[in-house]
Symmetry: C2
Subunit: 220 residues, 2 copies
């Protein structure tokens, strides 16, 4: 597989193109750091943007849902949705109001959705999604029943085209503003867990490995 | 102004409708807790979803950008974009793989975009956006020049229709699964600042009030 996504009219970054990347590894890294994507599709003249859980596996992403959803009904019609993942990484505080910004990593990707019918692939996707939520969780929990597998819709979106956009580091001010006595810098942000809340039937049970490892992996 | 958004074919929540709200206050609260939205619009047959900074003010949101962007060019044509804001609030860890979920608050809104030409309103929107990034920052920094105001495009999207969707609390398992010796619960997540990084010209300057208040407002 080629290392970069071809730059086309669809995935080409127009604005702030110096922050763009078409590198497959970079796109995958950003996708792998998230668990919520925003899927865009249109119904007649109206566009909808719906947040949903996803996981990347090889060159596709899996999403799941119930048969009832409008999004899945539309995707079944063979349109090519746009899927966007954004991580807000920090506040960029410049000397001028104009140069205030955010640090972020985002991916915009395009690809047709396929409904997964094969039972083994459905279970595999369910495992990947659960593991994306919390690594190590799948083997700790009650596995899906035949009924649960049946009523879960799994969609694979093959990544046909994608681009990443990244901003990092401190502010960039106008040359003459550096002499102003105004503090400038940036504040990194990250998604941080608060205290674990066991449900009322779990109070006597030990916190599982998946949760312990997750909590240990987060900076304080 | 009526307290709820009318439920129509466009903003009606189809999937998990019990988590839906059309309450204006609730929609505004979710919008006011964020600073990145995902804007969806279509160019011919293809939908695009682009992340961008926003702020809500009264019944509209302001976004900004440079004239170069594809998104602003499209919005200028009078289409009604969809704007979605999502906060990931926690991991929901059930006894069964099937009932794993996320806690979240999201808003999906629709409205036509208007380009703001009035200079005073443009400056006001720039102030609101800067303040949404960091409360108290606007008055600390160098104000926009005539040129900066001119090259900044400000769009107002009047909220014609919207819905919120909220999931909170712990897992909901199948009745018979509660007797399994599997730990279940949830882990609240929040956007957390790491260490402030002053840029190289600010090392000798005192950290400003806006940054101090922001850091003090975050739980550890």
């Amino acid at each position: 597989m080629v290392k970069t996504f071809e730059k086309t009219a669809v995935n080409k970054v127009v604005r702030a193109a110096k922050r763009a990347s078409y590198d497959r590894g970079e796109v995958y890294d950003i996708l792998d750091s998230g668990m919520v994507c925003h899927i865009g599709f249109s119904v007649e003249e109206q566009t909808f943007v719906i947040p949903t859980i996803y996981v990347r596996f090889e060159n596709r992403i899996y999403i799941h849902g119930a048969n009832k959803s409008r999004m899945l009904a539309m995707l079944q019609k063979g349109i090519t949705p746009c899927v966007t993942v954004t991580h807000l990484d920090g506040l960029v505080l410049a000397r001028s109001a104009f140069h205030h910004s955010m640090n972020y990593r985002s991916v915009v990707l395009f690809g047709k959705a396929t409904f997964i019918e094969d039972k083994e692939e459905k279970i595999k996707a369910m495992e990947l999604i659960t593991e994306q939520l919390l690594k190590g969780r799948w083997k700790e929990v009650r596995q899906p029943t035949e009924k649960e597998i049946e009523i879960t819709t799994i969609l694979a979106i093959e990544i046909e085209s994608a681009s990443a956009k990244i901003r990092k580091g401190g502010p960039v001010d106008e040359k003459e503003d550096y002499k102003l006595p105004i503090w400038a810098g940036h504040i990194p942000l990250h998604q941080h867990p608060l205290k674990i809340i066991a449900d009322e039937h779990s109070a006597e049970l030990e916190v599982p490995e998946s949760v312990k490892s997750y909590m240990a992996s987060k900076p304080n």
